[in-house]
Subunit: 342 residues, 3 copies
Amino acid sequence: MKIQQIAQMVGGQIVGDEALDITGLGMLDNAKTGDIIFLDKNKYEDAAKKSSASAILTIQKIETEKTQIITTNPKLAFAKILAAFCPEPNLASGISPQASIGKNVQIDESVSIGPFAAIGDGTKIGKNTVIHSGVAIGIDCKIGSSCIVFPNVTLYRKTELRNEVIIHAGAVIGADGFGYILDEQGKHFKINQVGNVIIEDRVEIGANACIDRAGMGSTLIKEGTKIDNLVQIAHNCTVGEHSIIVSQAGIAGSSTLGKYNVLAGQSGVADHVTLGDKVTLAAQSGAFRNIESGEVYAGIPAVPASKWRRYVTHLSKLTDYIHKIKKIEKRLTDIENKNNQG
Amino acid sequence: MKIQQIAQMVGGQIVGDEALDITGLGMLDNAKTGDIIFLDKNKYEDAAKKSSASAILTIQKIETEKTQIITTNPKLAFAKILAAFCPEPNLASGISPQASIGKNVQIDESVSIGPFAAIGDGTKIGKNTVIHSGVAIGIDCKIGSSCIVFPNVTLYRKTELRNEVIIHAGAVIGADGFGYILDEQGKHFKINQVGNVIIEDRVEIGANACIDRAGMGSTLIKEGTKIDNLVQIAHNCTVGEHSIIVSQAGIAGSSTLGKYNVLAGQSGVADHVTLGDKVTLAAQSGAFRNIESGEVYAGIPAVPASKWRRYVTHLSKLTDYIHKIKKIEKRLTDIENKNNQG
Amino acid sequence: MKIQQIAQMVGGQIVGDEALDITGLGMLDNAKTGDIIFLDKNKYEDAAKKSSASAILTIQKIETEKTQIITTNPKLAFAKILAAFCPEPNLASGISPQASIGKNVQIDESVSIGPFAAIGDGTKIGKNTVIHSGVAIGIDCKIGSSCIVFPNVTLYRKTELRNEVIIHAGAVIGADGFGYILDEQGKHFKINQVGNVIIEDRVEIGANACIDRAGMGSTLIKEGTKIDNLVQIAHNCTVGEHSIIVSQAGIAGSSTLGKYNVLAGQSGVADHVTLGDKVTLAAQSGAFRNIESGEVYAGIPAVPASKWRRYVTHLSKLTDYIHKIKKIEKRLTDIENKNNQG
């Protein structure tokens, strides 16, 4: 691809050879001649110059003979070029004769359905959506357009996926929420879960993640949120727009998260908790109470991250302080003894 | 449904309009005319009165013009009414011609098997059990009556499900326990896992949960226990009756839990540990040692919850105590200096 | 099996009845006449003697009338005998007519493929490999010989399994790495993940585990490593040879682990972290920084385990120290008062 085309694509300005032909993308440590790389941190400037790459995406002009594209966000520009060079393979293949299609379905003719996928009665699937092999879709689901549902995913009844939703292999959307109440005989009586799950536009859900359907109403994942592998989201939760839920994090029932939250890996949110917007929860920490917008929390139970860092420092010095206390006691006894003698 | 019918079903007593027609169920914040709601906490009494619901399940008579059903456990009553109003859809559909059935199986004629389910040789399935699409059942499994196995579940060979067991989508029951021993060449030699998994009556297992089969003997989940999504139970564990294992909790090999345990979300139990009856383990905590019946434990490693709460308080005040120590040292030095001058 | 055959198999020496017939294997608490058991800890010597077993694998001769096999590693010997007595069932069954096989595949004639497995275009599968029912294999995968892929596993495009690899049910190998960058509109722009996953010889991967494919290059699991259920390994990680990753552990993106690492259950490794060889990370702990070879770490954030144990002890005594501080303050005040009066 001509570098001019690339510069135009990313809204950047060329410094150097405007006729350059870009043949690939590389990273600092493996770029080849013909590759374009990106530089987003000053400390890598030397590495960028020394690499074999032919062109550099950079936020400001650097001293080099390589051709540069000056752009406000080199990494974003790189991601866009990558999407152009290495588009996702087109997996459209029509509806397999080995799929099982229920009654009263509405499936656009542009939809692809892989072998051994089972589509429940009354389900609707919008145009250009791709359902891979082994997917099980329950009755009365609504799936929008341009969604991709990878192999062996299960959608329980009445699940709604809006548009451009991606669900990775093995994920389970809409399983029964975990709701029981002890009955007169001391047995757990199952509370029927009669709600559903709604996944809004451009949400992506990782492999083997689980999102349970609501007891009543809907469990809701809002637009643009990205959920990683093996995440658990319990019944009746709402996760706000453009949030990031990293692998193995879990959100217990009826919790509500605002926009642009980041839950790092293996973190947890207790039930009936509210997190504001732009809340960050550190890896392996646990939010047992509400957190205001903009806060960064860490620890179990989670506290402001600055406080948590102080705890960690204190813990590392406890031995010292315990020695100090022992020394103090000795000095005190010395004084008291002297005083008594005096 | 007539309120008299409902009162009879839940064993309650009507106060108000005995001819009332109940058309649905609602929650405090969304009930409509014709709905019945439940009130189980005094603090919600006003909300209940102000809601649009036509009837209230309550433990004692309240001041309102709405019709009431007085019942000892309003929430349990509500769950029972919900089950009557919104029964789980009947998914019985016979045996799909697109299923794969092994040799020498014994499958009751009332069983349903979805498309693309594969049933191994020698497996038995009892009456009214429903096996959904994409389920893989290994050889020589025994499945009782009235079980539901949701899509894409895998049961390895010799797995036993008793009666009324529910297994949610993607769960894997009976995979090889994680057992190896270093051999002479420093490689991990696999210890064949020749046992199985037994799941007793009315156990429910969440989506993508894993229960490994025993090295020898059986991994055992006893009657009425409920296991949430993404839980791991390792080989040779026994989980006692009527326990609750919340999402993402894990139990390592050969541990034994009593009855009515509650393991909260993301908690862990180490290997070869014994928990008594009615043990509660808080979210994100880790039981590395045995715990007696009736105890509530928290923290990593888990300690009695009251102790753990004290730790948390102490941690939050460490800065203060460190300041105190510094002040004390200063005061001591002052005294010592004076004494020496004296 | 004759005990002489067994002794030969495990390289041991018989003490006692050389003509003994061994009919099974047992554990200390359930062995029957005819069984062989192993004894690897002195404290179990009495139990071994009292058991009904007919023979004992032991590291040194003990006083008993039972027949013994003296061998350097009784537990390893036991595992080898177990493999001889209870071999894994041979699941080879040819290629099911109910499987879906893509174009341009190269599948050895000795391969077994279960019903409802879908093999993508261009995929190669080596001899004696067994693909179970419901497995989805993407395009251009390379699978070596003697692998076992259990039901409902998904391999995304270009995944490579070398030889004798075992993948348990529901695992997902090669799903998109979790990579996004905020665009100009504040939306998460997906960074296409154009790499793959390579799984080397004799790796075993647990049920519902997830290993994401690299952004560029390969996520690499090296020879002989064993990965338990529900483990997450993010894009661009390298896990060294003969490591053990226990259930529910997670490794974030671009981290590199050496050989013979042990990550205990529910532990985590942050992104871009390097662990040396023979590193042990305790259960539920989190490695946020590099760790040198041979170290044992524990806690969140992880510190050397000896340090962590000290923290835990300190925490348990904080109440005492806080009392001490209060007492000290009182004694100081007393002295100061006296001094002032004086």
